[in-house]
Amino acid sequence: MQKPIDREPHWLTRPATIRKLWWGFGMVLALTVIAQFAIPIEGHFGLDRLFGFNAWYGFIACAAFILVAKAIGFLLKRPDTYYESRVEDEA
């Protein structure tokens, strides 16, 4: 396999760029919430009428998915040679 030949890190991977990207991302996030003052989102039920519902709900839902996956992984994760090693045992 080829070895890396670049002399200096790609501009996208420089810490300064990554810092700027985080700032940019943060501002876009803030904008999407602030925009709700100008563009009211009508909820369908109860909770989703709260301000910024989709923002915090999206964040919490994803955090919950990650934590649940972590917990399930604790029970169900196996080395990725799990089935292959069984095949070898049989052979």
Binding site: M1, Q2, K3, P4, I5, D6, H10, L12, T13, F25, V28, L29, T32, V33, A35, Q36, I39, P40, I41, E42, H44, F45, G46, L47, D48, G52, F53, N54, A55, W56, Y57, G58, F59, A61, C62, A63, A64, F65, I66, L67, V68, A69, K70, I72, G73, L76, K77, R78, P79, D80, Y82, Y83, E84, R86, V87, E90
Partner: protein, 559 residues
């Protein structure tokens, strides 16, 4: 009676393709799906082929809006997959894929359950051959598990269809009421192919073992044909809402745990089909339109994602996130196309996923299904998490793996560019797709609040991903699934049973030969070479016994 059946064009063409020499193939590979598409659009709506089979009316070619929609996307997908697979060395894969795709088109154009069943089984054979053509041990083993599960599905379906025929006296494929076990068996057979619980595991188990181009074909047909038959047979069946929600959540959780980039995408097929099945379960016109539209757009963006992953596999030979990373440097086109697919699957505004999936959530809101709506919203966020960011991040960014592969050959690039254009095109110009949907569409996806809703939901999901990146670090692991039951305990059981059988056989044999030996000894004693009855007697002894006998005779004669 029209002679040209779009499905059979592709199916028979696939059979012929297998016999063609490698040189003449390219043109045929590209022309066959287009011919199928042209034949499809030349057909009017209505029952076009009908006849009788075993005294029952059958209709192997019926066209309406729903079947035309699915047959169209299947033909388009066969073309895209064929184009992407032009560099495929296996002579088996594309012919098998065309037999598979042609059978899928024939299922959606079938007006009766007997025809559905026949092509349903041909799909299983075609897709198994596609997995085989990867040509390695893992694919061979996976294909056998895949085929066993699909044979089980076929048996369920056949039993159901037979029972349905006995009860109702006809096989016409219309809405099926869940009146008796027969109809439940049909539903079970359909759901098995959709990747529904409890047997979802066949999909992430088998698909990623196909070749770099094989999985592109596999992602499109089996599960979406299942979505079609559920749409036609079981719309508004409430159970499907919960089955679909389970699939959506299952796909997210397992994809989050997964290290193999193509298995991540396989789990996300289950997740996306889950959304469609929720729509079918809700069963209103808007929900069914949403499910059908989502199947259409899903086929395109999932194929694009798998082409992007296939290109990486083709160029690097690697599939695991732990081996990949930083490929954006030298595979910019593959990376951009992968990101377009990822945005589309996440339903970002201006992509195809946005104009289809949001119809299903909206339908849930219209029906005041609050729990369903909240779970669908969480699921939408989770899609961005497990497929939208995770796939491109770990494959193309993350860290520098040191790999510097270039973009793939041109045929593969063109296929990716076309599909990326379709994903964005459908996101912007959605009216032509809406016009193809089974019911009239009264839905406007691009309203400012709606766009803002999705942007908030998705971007904050992105924030969660990067904030919790440490929890998502890739490890060299797999996650056990239901397939464990038939790969480990069932195998142990069968092996144990074999051992038991062998030992019983051995002991029985030993006992039998002991009896044999004893019998032999007894026989030997009497009639062996030196046996009492068989040995050669001396003349003297014979004379003696003769005298004894004569003496005895004398005594008895004068008694």
């Amino acid at each position: 009676m029209s002679l040209l059946h779009p499905g059979l064009i592709l199916l028979l063409g696939g059979l012929l393709l297998g016999a063609l020499p490698t040189r003449g193939r390219t043109a045929v590979i590209l022309v066959l799906p287009l011919a199928s598409l042209a034949a499809l659009w030349a057909l009017p709506e209505g029952v076009l082929w009908h006849g009788e089979f075993l005294g029952v009316a059958v209709a192997p070619l019926v066209v309406d809006k729903l079947s035309r929609l699915f047959a169209t996307i299947f033909a388009i997908m066969a073309f895209g997959g064929g184009l992407f697979a032009l560099r495929q060395q296996s002579r088996l894969e594309v012919p098998a894929a065309y037999i598979y795709a042609g059978s899928a088109i024939s299922v959606v154009l079938a007006g009766d359950l007997a025809t559905v069943f026949v092509f349903w089984e041909l799909m299983a054979i075609g897709s198994t051959l596609v997995i085989w053509s990867a040509g390695n041990e893992a694919a061979w083993r996976a294909s056998r598990r895949y085929f066993s599960i699909h044979l089980l599905g076929g048996v369920l379906l056949f039993a159901g269809v037979t029972g349905h025929l006995v009860q109702t006296g006809d096989l016409l494929f219309t809405r099926i009421a869940l009146d008796s076990p027969a109809q439940w068996l049909i539903l079970a057979g359909f759901l098995l192919n959709a990747g529904a619980p409890p047997l979802s595991a066949w999909l992430p188990d088998a698909y990623p073992e196909a070749s770099w181009s094989g999985m592109v074909f596999l992602s499109a047909f089996t599960t979406k044909t299942a979505v079609y038959v559920l749409l036609r047979g079981f719309p508004g069946t409430e159970l499907l809402i919960w089955v679909g929600l389970f699939m959506a959540m299952y796909g997210i959780i397992y994809a989050l745990l997964e290290n193999d980039m193509r298995r991540i995408l396989a789990y996300s097929i289950v997740n996306q089909v889950g959304f469609m099945i929720v729509g079918i379960g809700i069963g209103t016109e808007m929900a069914l339109n949403g499910a059908a539209a989502h199947a259409f757009t899903h086929i395109l963006y999932k194929a694009l994602l798998l082409m992007s992953a296939g290109a990486v596999l083709y160029q690097t030979g690697k599939r695991k996130c732990t081996d990949l990373g930083g490929l954006f440097r030298t595979m910019p086109l593959t990376c951009i196309c992968g990101i377009v697919g990822a945005l589309a699957i996440s339903s970002f505004p201006l992509t195809s996923g946005f104009i289809s999936k949001s119809m299903i959530s909206e339908a849930a809101a219209h029906e005041h299904l609050a729990v369903v709506w909240y779970l669908l919203a969480a699921g939408s966020a989770g899609v961005f998490l497990h497929a939208g960011i995770k796939f491109p991040w770990f494959v193309f960014f993350q860290r520098d793996s040191g790999l510097r592969p270039s973009d793939p050959p041109w045929s593969m690039r063109i296929a990716m560019i076309l599909l990326a254009a379709a994903c964005i095109g459908l996101g912007v110009l959605y009216e032509p797709l809406y016009a193809l949907l089974p019911y009239a569409v009264d839905y406007q996806p691009y309203t400012a609040p709606h766009v803002l809703t999705y942007l908030q939901l998705l971007l904050f999901s992105g924030l969660a991903f990067f904030v919790m990146l440490n929890f998502l670090r890739r490890t060299l692991t797999i996650s056990l699934d239901v397939d464990w039951f038939y790969r480990v305990p069932a195998q142990t059981f069968v092996r144990g049973f074999e051992q038991l059988l062998a030992s019983v056989r051995a002991q029985f044999g030993a006992a039998l030969s002991a009896v044999g030996r004893r019998t032999n000894r007894v026989l030997d004693h009497w009639i062996g070479a030196e046996g009492e009855l068989a040995r050669t007697m001396s003349t003297g002894r014979m004379a003696f016994w003769l005298v004894v006998m004569l003496a005895g005779y004398l005594v008895t004669a004068y008694w």
